[in-house]
Point group: C2
Chain length 137, copies 2
DNA sequence: TTGTCTGCAAACGTTTTGCACGACC
DNA sequence: GGTCGTGCAAAACGTTTGCAGACAA
């Protein structure tokens, strides 16, 4: 059940520890773009001696190796995402959910053509999601 | 010289105070996407009794009225921009400069068509800017 | 005069740091 | 045995809050 994550860590020459495995598993199973505190609170239940510092460390290590990515939406804390491909996000101001947005922008090439070297692409939207729109109010 | 900003504030029914005028003037004349601290440090030189709280308050008020906008780039503090139209940013990891990017993404309509109501659009890139590319290293 | 704005100090929440202990090659 | 990871506590950082006095309209 955890072999998948053991493999992933080993492939990236990252030492395998229970904390890293659990962090990775949590992110894989919870595609809600959780904050550090959400991850910590959840994992602490099964491992009461878990430290938040370790969560920070684990997430940073995983991110450095490109296994996961972080996202920042103004007004909210840092979040993490198991999905490591470029994609964007939509934050619903009403329900707070963050929805993945998979659009591509053909004009990104314009930046490349202007001589800059793009390493990271980040995009997000804020508004009212489909579900909340239907509910009215 | 400040009449321009007095007018802008009055048009938006915002009380005119020297602090608000100076904040607005600074943002207009410094299109570098300054942080709160940068604005504060600079304005404090001419007005030593200036408080950072006031800068926070002024910026928030101006933003609420849509006169200015804020931007967040992960790993850096909150920044403010006199330009209030939708546009994107490019942070050079080398020199730290933030460059305006004026590309449009035709596919944004896909989000609208999917039923979500978009109120805000934020996008930014990270990499190495043209100038730093030329310098080599 | 009335309500709002300013400036100070303290509080707050998130993230980082320093360090001792422990686990693993 | 030496390196690396963990967990704790404290510090750092950016931002927010509460409040008293000052100011704009």
């Amino acid at each position: 059940m955890l072999e998948k994550y053991v493999k992933l860590l080993k492939e990236n020459s990252i030492k395998v520890t229970p904390q890293r495995l659990e962090t990775l598993k949590y992110l894989d199973e919870n595609r809600t773009h959780p904050t550090v505190d959400e991850i910590y609170s959840e994992l602490k239940e099964k491992n009461p001696s878990l430290s938040k510092t370790t969560i920070y460390n684990s997430l940073e290590t995983l991110k450095e190796h490109g296994i996961i990515q972080s996202l920042t939406i103004s007004g909210t804390e840092l979040r993490y995402d198991f999905e490591n491909k470029i994609h964007h996000h939509f934050l619903c101001k009403k329900c707070g959910n963050i929805i993945d947005i998979d659009i591509e922008c053909p004009n990104i090439n314009k930046i490349l053509n202007s001589g800059h070297e793009v390493e990271e692409v980040h995009g997000y939207f804020k508004g009212k999601c489909k579900k909340c729109m239907k509910k009215g109010s």
